[in-house]
């Protein structure tokens, strides 16, 4: 009789612990889900920023842009024939 009571008590305690544990874990998981959502949003924003930067870089490095900068602003020209030294391979 005593042993059965003890077993019942233990099961009761374990049950309570498990119940509390579930509540706690569930709470945790919701917190983590919110955190994950925030991180995903951050990732999305970073990706968006990356694509914008890529575009900006592409626009700045556009051959037409570079050519006009070189010719107009920096006054660069193609060297004449006689200034090119060809090394025979």
């Amino acid at each position: 009789m005593n042993a059965r009571l003890l077993a019942l008590l233990i099961i009761l305690v374990v049950d309570m612990c498990s119940a509390l544990g579930i509540v706690y874990i569930r709470h945790q998981s919701r917190h983590l889900a919110v955190a994950l959502g925030a991180l995903e949003a951050e990732h999305d924003n970073a990706m968006a920023e990356w694509s914008r930067l890529q575009l900006e870089q592409a626009w700045l490095a556009d051959a037409g842009q570079v050519e006009s900068q070189a010719r107009r602003r920096l006054q660069m020209t193609q060297p004449p024939e006689m200034h090119i030294l060809v090394v025979r391979p």
Binding site: A33, V34, G37, S51, R52, Q54, L55, A58, R88
Partner: protein
């Protein structure tokens, strides 16, 4: 008596109780009806707000880049604005503000929304400017929502427009490689089931319904710098000669990779305006009668048949030849030439005389092996196969004209492929626009004969040739000019297609380039005057950018000698 009164009291109690029960249940039913009928919208909204939901996991379309990883097409998120007309129309006074931000007419906006008031979702404007989006967000009008969408940008603009193509507003490829590789680029949005709280935050991910697969990137063989070079040179030439259109194809002989493919007219893929004139990638979709640029293939056929060697003399005087009542003419009477000279001078009479000694079947077979009459298999949408009629249907006149490039049609890309066969010792490689494509070399022509033809073609840019303007300093250039009259409803009109096809450096070919200028309306219309200088500019720039060592040593020595003299003086 008392028993009777007792029972009476009991009955009235019962009725009273029943009445109370009835009233209570009536109240419940009334409440239920009220909730169900009158407040459905509110309650449903509230319920949905904190319930199990399936949401999309968005993906982006893959990036298209050039051979060096420079972006040619990139998707980036932008905001689109949509409304729930029912909600917005409850606050009509705010419509003015909204219309002002959107730069539209308030009355028109209201009319539009009233017409669609039965719906719950109406796009107002898609792909907003970021400033406009933040203004709309600041207005905080009920029923107006912003939705993140992806917009495709093409930093190379019109320069690579034909190759890359563009997508429509729903991000589906419409033209070019965006269309051809749509499935590869597009990716697939996933779905997941989540529980959201009242504020719309996801509190729990219940399950992943479908894994999202992001769009894959696509790397092209195009070199953006060469593409730009070819495009600006082509545009300049087309403007200078008042031409209707033009194309340039530049190909790497080592692997069949297309380094540049440009056309005029072009369009801005960031804002395609729907006019179809500039949309076609003419280098691949449009066929033309190539004219004299076809002569090397007829000569290959003669060499294969063993009826001539490069030195065999051919009498071309008096510069005309009558075949089936049709006169074939040369520009001048060139007199006695050899086979090399026929190519150097581009003699129609010479090539026709010799070609008529060939069997049509053999000539047809040679042309087929060079890839004519069959799409190259580049995988480009709308690629044309050109026309090469079966030899059994050739009449004698056709047999003659096909030798110098009439009665047959081809695309610029086919010509590039065919010249690549000559340049690379008889080996055909399928031209490709995609990195990592599998295009094993296929032997099509005897390497010795291909070399002979290549050597003959080098004389075209020599002192006696028609293509002197295709020369590039310090490099040996081989190629062939072409000037073909355009066929029209009333026979051949006095409108022309000027072309030049060739490769460089001639001693160890690396690049093949085909230039087509359609309908130059200026005084000059010969391939040697219109197309050859463009070829020289494109190939010269490309050889320099690709660090191909010069091979024209005699010219180099002569030049350094004069330089030294000049310096000494």
């Amino acid at each position: 008596m008392s028993a009777a009164r007792n029972s009476h009291v009991r009955a009235s109690r019962l009725y009273a109780l029943l009445l109370i029960f009835f009233l209570v249940s009536l109240a419940l039913v009334a409440r239920a009806v009220k909730l169900q009928v009158a407040q459905t919208e509110f309650l449903q909204g509230q319920g949905e707000a904190r319930f199990l939901r399936e949401v999309d996991i968005p993906t982006t379309r893959g990036m298209i880049s050039d051979r060096n990883g420079e972006p040619l097409a990139v998707s980036t998120p932008v905001e689109s604005v949509w409304v729930n007309p029912g909600e917005v129309l409850q606050v009509p006074e705010k419509l003015g503000l909204l219309a002002k931000v959107l730069e539209t007419d308030a009355d028109e906006l209201e009319r539009k929304l009233t017409q669609r008031s039965a719906r719950e979702f109406v796009w107002l404007r898609r792909r907003l400017h970021p400033d406009m989006a933040s203004q709309i967000e600041a207005l905080k009008i009920q029923g107006v929502y912003l939705q993140k969408e992806y917009r495709r940008f093409y930093p190379a603009g019109e320069v690579a427009a034909h190759v890359v193509g563009f997508t429509n507003i729903d991000d589906i490829g419409q033209e070019g490689l965006e269309l051809a590789y749509n499935d590869w680029l597009i990716g697939e949005a996933g779905r997941k089931r989540v529980i959201k709280d009242r504020l719309g935050r996801t509190v729990e991910e219940v399950e992943l319904v479908k894994q999202a697969s992001p769009g894959k990137d696509l790397q092209l063989t195009i070199d953006r710098r060469l593409q730009y070079l070819a495009y600006t040179e082509l545009k300049r030439t087309v403007l200078k000669h008042g031409a209707r259109s033009g194309s340039v194809v530049l190909m790497d002989l080592h692997n069949g990779e297309i380094l540049a493919m440009v056309n005029q007219p072009s369009y801005n893929p960031n804002q395609p305006d729907g006019s179809s004139e500039g949309l076609r990638n003419r280098a691949v979709t449009d066929v033309f009668e190539p004219g004299s640029v076809m002569k090397p293939f007829a000569v290959t056929s003669m060499l294969e048949a063993g009826i001539v060697t490069p030195g065999t003399p051919v009498e071309t005087s008096p510069g005309t030849l009558v075949i089936s009542g049709h006169t074939i003419r040369d520009h001048h009477n060139y007199g006695l030439l050899d086979v090399t000279g026929v190519l150097t001078k581009s003699s129609n009479v010479g090539v026709t005389k010799l070609a008529l000694e060939l069997s049509p079947e053999h000539m047809w077979d040679t042309y087929r092996r060079y890839g004519f009459g069959e799409a190259t298999g580049s995988g480009f949408p709308g690629e044309s196969a050109g026309v090469l009629r079966n030899h059994q249907r050739w009449r004698r006149l056709e047999h003659a004209t096909i030798a110098y490039g009439y009665g047959i049609s081809a695309t610029a890309l086919q010509l590039a492929q065919a010249y690549a066969v000559i340049a690379s010792g008889g080996v055909l490689r399928q031209p490709t626009l995609i990195q990592g494509a599998i295009n094993p070399p296929i032997s099509m022509v005897d390497p010795v004969l291909a070399r002979q033809v290549a050597d003959m073609l080098e004389t075209v840019t020599g002192p006696a040739g028609t293509g002197k303007q295709a020369r590039v300093a310090n490099y040996r250039i081989a190629g062939k000019t072409g000037t073909s009259r355009k066929a029209s409803a009333s026979g051949y009109a006095s409108r022309y297609v000027a072309s030049f096809a060739g490769f460089a450096p001639a001693s160890n070919p690396r690049l093949v380039c085909v230039v087509i200028v359609n309908d130059p309306t200026g005084e000059q219309y010969y391939g040697g005057d219109v197309a050859a200088p463009l070829f020289a500019n494109v190939v010269g720039g490309a050889l320099r950018l690709m660090n191909v060592p010069p091979d024209d040593y005699p010219a180099l020595f002569a030049q350094s000698a004069t330089d030294a003299e000049g310096a000494a003086r």
